[in-house]
Symmetry: C2
Subunit: 408 residues, 2 copies
């Protein structure tokens, strides 16, 4: 390595995003490196939710669907997310869960072209992506799921392919080159559905520039929308009128409040809405998205790379021999970094017991997420030092750390 | 009519449920008769949501999936709803929207038996039910949607039929005899999916006793879960292991946190979960359900019938000639009552301008819902008198009442 690392406190003092940390609730004594699993609570959210509940619901009652703009919330919050991912404002809506949105997009992509019969993805993709694809193949005669290692995927694309990729891998943090994948897909007539769950709000994305056509992603990670926040869905404008959602609920109708007997899809992206929008979840998500917009995605992405780089360097110093399971090059990574350890579960638990909250991912990964809105360089150093201590003194050997909780 | 009606104030004074009204936020100067569209806000909800947000999310962060029982919430709240609809505790889960749940049940019912090819329902059913069925038929070769007037439905049932009925009609309030429908369906080998949106929390249901097999329903009407609250889904225990949800998301996996590559459905009803559960929505819904449980569904159903009967009698006195569009017999009705008027939209708006909030339903219905938890007999009389005044003096003729809002 090239000389001593710059002082973390100095980096934090010079960080233009440092002031955003106070805009979040962060418990005392905790170094939270799991914002890639559940983003921290923005301080603004409590008051906003209280207003939505007490004024809009309590006082406004049914009138708030119009008067408080509830009916527009999926589009309004979607338009804000669009600005974070390089999409036009009418290309993103908030609806349902990531799983349900991936289902909609895969089914719509299959139905739009009878040549499409293969749902291609990589093994070890995030489970819900794999499961949703498998469920569709099970239900649709002639459709199969194929998995290929990521370096074999581009060569396998063809007009029969609907490719489902998670842009930033949930374990390794490895990041696909979206532009390159879309270029190849366009050449051979394949279509790509991107899962942006570990990307949106943490990385700079340019869906329009990269010619992405279909994507979905999570509201509760880097978008800070709260546990089980509603998800988002992106369809490039040119495709919107060609695709039909399999979930033809009333909110996707051209005129939902005409209460007609016959389904007629809405003209634009609204056709990918289904049931009544979840207003409490949308309100919390909007607070989380607003703070990302205010900080600016370019600055956040820059800091995210620097935090990850610093963590890798600190771990190299504190934990000799620990194997990095993530790309060393920050431009090939998302905002989380994983290391392999044969007792990864116990190591993660020992860290949590010491206030350093990362997580474990099967079979042997200890994962650390660096949400740039509220993570300091000093946190990164502290986490690496605590990890070094846990490993050097084998503190993970305490039997209590081996007990598996239902959610890990 | 047989003599003068008993005094409304006396009825309210004698009402064993009267004390529950103070447990809700109800705005000054408003007579709210739209709890069948959006239930009022329970006072307990604000504090509970604040605790979920500030303590469980803010302080507990990712740990709350285990420590605060988030992961069990779909089952915990589902078990409470089960007690309201005559189901066993492991036969109901909370998930997604009503539209998505109806989709799951219709697809699962079709897939379970290749003889099933007809989605039968009635014209003028709630639009999302019709639209979801139409979307499935569009996507599944060989599956058709058929609509028949309700009095022709039982004779048309056969082993090819998946019957989709809304138990209480959203316009007329007319109620199906669930036991009779299920009896006929069982005789001929049909299967029924019930939409309980206008029933659950307002009527006494006995899904087990009536041998119902599949149902879904809304969380934001008589269950008071708030705007866009998550919905529920019922599958009779005997069927649970035979049905596969089309939405095979990770929360429906036998071991979601094993992160395996292969979908394997959970043993019981959990297989009908899909994405990450919406914790804020579940918390609000639980508050709304708790208060229904506390009041007792039998007493609520009894009062609901009495309120509707009283409204019909008051309107007969105040609004001579106005045509009732709902069953006069309370046992054949849900908790809302509709009247026909050629200018129904304007009449509903004129009532809202006078603080009586009901709603309009195409083409000519003015609809009034009587949520027994917080509606008084005096409210019913006041609404009827205001309606009488609006009609007698033709107050609905003001041009502003004809302007259509986006949500009506």
């Amino acid at each position: 390595m090239a000389g001593p690392l710059p002082d973390c406190e100095a980096l934090d003092a010079a960080d233009p995003l440092a002031r955003f940390r106070d805009r979040f609730v962060l418990p005392e004594g905790v170094t939270y490196l799991d914002g890639n699993s559940l983003g921290a609570l923005p301080r603004a959210t409590s008051a906003r939710l209280a207003a939505v509940v007490e004024q809009e619901w309590g006082e406004g009652l049914i009138r708030s669907w119009n008067a408080a703009g509830w009916i527009d919330a999926p589009h309004r919050v979607g338009a804000k997310i669009a600005r974070l991912i390089g999409a036009a404002e009418d290309e993103v809506v908030v609806a349902d869960s990531t799983s349900v949105n991936i289902y909609k997009l895969l089914c719509a992509a299959l139905a739009a072209d009878p040549r499409r019969t293969v749902l291609l993805t990589e093994p070890d993709n995030f489970p819900t992506d794999l499961y949703i694809a498998q469920g569709i193949a099970e239900a649709c005669p002639g459709v199969t799921v194929r998995t290929l290692p990521r370096d074999a995927i581009l060569d396998a694309l063809g007009p029969s392919t609907v490719l489902l990729l998670t842009h930033v891998h949930y374990k390794s943090g490895a990041r696909f080159d979206m532009a390159a994948v879309e270029r190849r897909a366009a050449e051979v007539g394949a279509v790509v559905v991107w899962d942006l769950s570990h990307s949106a709000g943490g990385l700079q994305l340019d869906l329009a520039g990269d010619r992405a056509q279909l994507a979905a992603g999570c509201g509760y990670k880097y978008l800070n929308g709260g546990p089980g926040a509603p998800a988002f869905l992106y369809v490039a404008r040119a495709l919107q009128s060609q695709l039909i959602s399999p979930l033809t609920g009333w909110m996707g109708h051209a005129a939902p409040f005409a209460f007609s007997d016959r389904y007629e899809p809405a003209a634009g992206l609204a056709r990918f809405l289904c049931g009544t929008p979840p207003i409490l979840g949308l309100a919390a998500l909007e607070c989380g998205v607003d703070i990302v917009l205010e900080a600016g995605i370019e600055a956040l992405a820059h800091k995210g790379r620097a935090l990850g780089d610093r963590f890798i360097a600190e771990v190299a110093a504190c934990c000799p021999g620990l194997e990095l399971a993530s790309p060393r090059d920050a431009t090939a990574r998302g905002n989380h970094v994983s290391f392999r350890h044969p007792h990864g579960y116990e190591v993660a638990q020992a860290l949590i017991a010491r206030g350093v909250i990362g997580d474990f991912r099967d079979p042997d990964l200890v994962r650390f997420g660096f949400a740039p809105l509220y993570t300091r360089f000093a946190d990164v150093r502290h986490a690496a030092q605590t990890l070094g201590e846990v490993l050097a003194r084998e503190l993970w050997r305490e039997p209590r750390f081996a007990e598996r909780a239902s959610v890990t």
